[in-house]
């Protein structure tokens, strides 16, 4: 253990591979969420991820950000990353165009333990950009449709323009076997004829049964808080509920200490946690 080096060449743990932005599309009407498709310049360096995992996306000269991979591994490369403009790095990323170079390293983190959910009913509950990591899982489950029971996708955003992945929401997913998509918005507009209201009461109204079910939820902290209360009222136990934690990450590999909560490093022990695991962590997020 004390330093017998088996490595040859320069160290590479924190060094990204070079990639190129293949295309960029706006997910929201305001453009504050964009989906980037990124390919690696060296196809030999490609890796295969699992749903829930993330990658460190570099904007050279600015920095790195840990972004969840939103495309299912069943779709291979280029990978898709949906990024909301919130700060320095995401802001710089938003200013890039197809053809621009970025860095990529990963895949990091644990994954949704979908292998444990055979034949179970799946209830996906997401809000806003929170749908991004969940989408990867949804598509993966749909690619293995026979392994799971009924699927409910419950999703809400601030307004119809803020709904992400509209093609999936309106065209693809509703066509899937035994799969229901329920959409709501905080505030409708002229064309919107669907439900209006926040996700937690919407979830309560839909009232999915907890029997043999797993609930996967991801979204703004305030939404999560009330969704968890609602799920408890509906009879879901802590083990049946899975979510992702979002914290600032710098190294992504469990060394730099930034995402350390209790004895866990969110970048390696998470970001996917069951509610029972979260209850064991100190309340620091």
């Amino acid at each position: 253990m004390s330093g017998q080096c088996a490595c040859t060449g320069e160290p590479r743990l924190l060094v990204p591979d070079v990639g190129t932005i293949v295309d960029v599309r706006d997910e929201t009407a305001s453009g504050d969420v964009k989906t980037f498709r990124i390919a690696l310049d060296d196809p030999q360096a490609e890796w295969r991820h699992l749903p829930g995992q993330c990658a460190m996306v570099s904007v050279f000269g600015v920095g790195e950000a840990m972004i969840s991979i939103t495309s299912s591994p069943t779709r291979g490369w280029p990978l898709e990353f949906s990024v909301k403009r919130v700060g320095r790095v995401t802001g710089a990323l938003h200013d890039l165009h197809p053809g621009d170079k970025v860095g990529l390293r990963g895949p990091y983190g644990n994954h949704f333990p979908a292998e444990e959910w055979k034949d179970r009913r799946l209830v996906f509950i997401a809000g806003g950009i929170g749908l991004a990591p969940v989408r990867c899982l949804i598509d993966w489950c749909l690619a293995h449709r026979e392994d799971f029971g009924h699927i409910d996708i419950i999703y809400g955003a601030r307004s119809p323009g803020d709904l992400c992945f509209k093609t999936d929401l309106f065209d693809r997913w509703p066509r899937e076997k035994d799969t229901e998509v329920h959409l709501t918005v905080d505030e409708g507009d002229q064309e919107w004829t669907g439900p209006v209201g926040f996700v937690p009461p919407f979830l309560e109204e839909i009232g999915p049964s907890p029997e043999n079910a797993v609930a996967i939820t991801c979204g703004p902290p305030i939404m999560i808080k009330f969704v968890l209360q609602t799920l408890a009222r509906l009879g879901f136990t802590d083990d049946q509920i899975v979510t992702t934690l979002e914290l600032k990450m710098q190294c992504g590999v469990g060394k730099c200490g930034r995402c350390n909560i209790g004895e866990k490093y969110v970048c390696v022990d998470g970001p996917v946690f069951t509610l029972s695991e979260i209850r064991e962590l100190p309340d620091e997020f």
Binding site: M1, S2, G3, Q4, C5, C7, G9, E10, P11, R12, L13, L14, V15, P16, V18, T20, S58, F60, G61, V62, G63, E64, A65, V86, G87, R88, V89, T90, G99, D100, K101, G103, E246, L247, K248, Q250, C251, V253, G254, K255, C256, G257, R258, N260, G262, E263, V268, P282, E284, F285
Partner: protein, 379 residues
């Protein structure tokens, strides 16, 4: 793991033992500095010594009289600023398409850490647990570690801030060291002026003592009739207590701390904290870091740099949310990490009792204080 203080277990088996005159050390280091980067306690006039690079020229002198250096030798393995790679954005001359040249930073040549105290040497093993184990091996650290030789010097006179024995270490401990120098006069003297027994415990240590630079410095075999003396000296160093360590006893607060996360104690003890990074940066076992890019006009360097959970912005997220906005949150994090979280993850405490935080914290908010006080709290 107990190798010192009362009831000590026998130490590791020495591979080779030599004798070197105290007056030969500066010359030895200068010779080594021609082939490797040497880190040692460098004498600074009128001030406590610094652990920093020892030059091959005539200016630097070794200072083994001070009980501790102000800073620790961890910078030899984990530099405060470490380049990871360089990047350069270019445009293809014909197509105009963007291109990026990326070069990974070379790990550098051999490093010798000379004159570390046994606490500092043990600290390297605590860092190894973080960087060399787990889901990922940090090959930046590993590459440097693989080329590092650690020569520790046993402590003749632990002072009132020393408490390595509280963690089962000792002023004559060998943990983390390739070679340990024991002053021939034994403990109690301010500094050894005659000669040192140099004992190698690893293959690398053995090679270091057999190298040309060592032989040129007069590193020689121990006279036959000194075998007994050597044993007694080593034993004396290993059995030394430490003033603060004796006062605190063995620190064993991890289980206690499991139930103390929400205790109002943290608010009280943290009130005097200045939220600076002094304790973190001089600590031999603290390792948190950040990663940043530095460049202009499409070219630059990505580097990592020491960071501290005590600094207010450590956990600040894009968008403004700070999970640890208050001093009590951050003070709690520091001590919970060292005395509980690290213990859960790696099986021992993240402290070697070097005493630097005791000396350097301007408001006395150091680990012995907290470790001592949490013992008396009701969970």
């Amino acid at each position: 793991m107990g190798e010192g203080g009362k009831g000590m277990a026998p130490g590791p088996v020495p591979r080779t033992t030599k004798l070197v005159e105290a007056s030969g050390l500066d010359g030895w280091l200068r010779a080594v500095a021609r082939e490797a980067r040497v880190w040692a306690p460098v004498k600074v006039d009128g001030r406590p010594p610094l652990f920093r690079e020892f030059g091959a020229g005539e200016e630097d002198r070794l200072d083994l009289e001070a009980v501790r250096t102000v800073n620790s030798p961890k910078g030899a393995l984990l530099p405060q600023t470490e380049p990871l790679m360089t990047y350069a954005m270019t445009k293809d001359a014909e197509s105009g398409r963007p291109s990026l040249d990326l070069e990974r930073a070379a790990p550098g040549g051999p490093v010798v850490v000379f004159g570390a105290r046994p606490c500092d040497a043990a600290a390297f093993e605590l860092l190894d647990k973080v960087f060399l184990t787990g889901d990922f091996v940090d090959d930046h650290y590993q590459a440097r570690r693989a080329k590092t030789t650690v020569v520790a010097v046993a402590c003749p006179r632990p002072d009132e801030a020393c408490f390595c024995t509280s963690f089962g270490l000792s002023p004559g401990g060998t943990r983390g060291a390739d070679v340990v120098l024991y002053g021939r006069s034994g403990p109690g003297v301010p500094v050894e002026t005659v000669a040192y027994y140099a004992v190698a415990y690893t293959e690398r240590g053995e090679a270091f003592l057999a190298a040309p630079a060592a032989r040129a410095a007069g590193v020689a075999d121990v006279p036959e009739d000194e075998g007994r003396c050597l044993e007694e000296v080593v034993s004396a160093f290993r059995g030394l207590g430490t003033p603060l360590g004796d006062r605190l006893g063995r620190i064993d607060v991890a289980a206690r701390l499991d139930g103390l996360f929400d205790h109002p104690y943290w608010e009280k003890v943290s009130a005097r904290c200045l939220s600076c990074g002094a304790c973190t940066f001089i600590c031999p076992t603290c390792y948190c870091f950040g990663v940043a890019d530095c460049g202009a006009l499409g070219k630059g360097v990505r580097y990592r740099y020491w960071d501290a959970c005590k600094l207010p912005h450590f956990m600040l997220m894009a968008g403004g949310h700070n999970p640890r906005p208050a001093k009590s949150n951050r003070t709690r994090q520091r001590f919970m990490h060292k005395l509980n979280y690290y213990h859960h993850r790696y099986g021992e405490y993240q402290c070697v009792g070097c005493g630097r935080c005791v000396e350097s914290c301007p408001v006395g908010l150091h680990l012995p204080l907290v470790a001592g006080e949490v013992g008396g709290l009701e969970g």
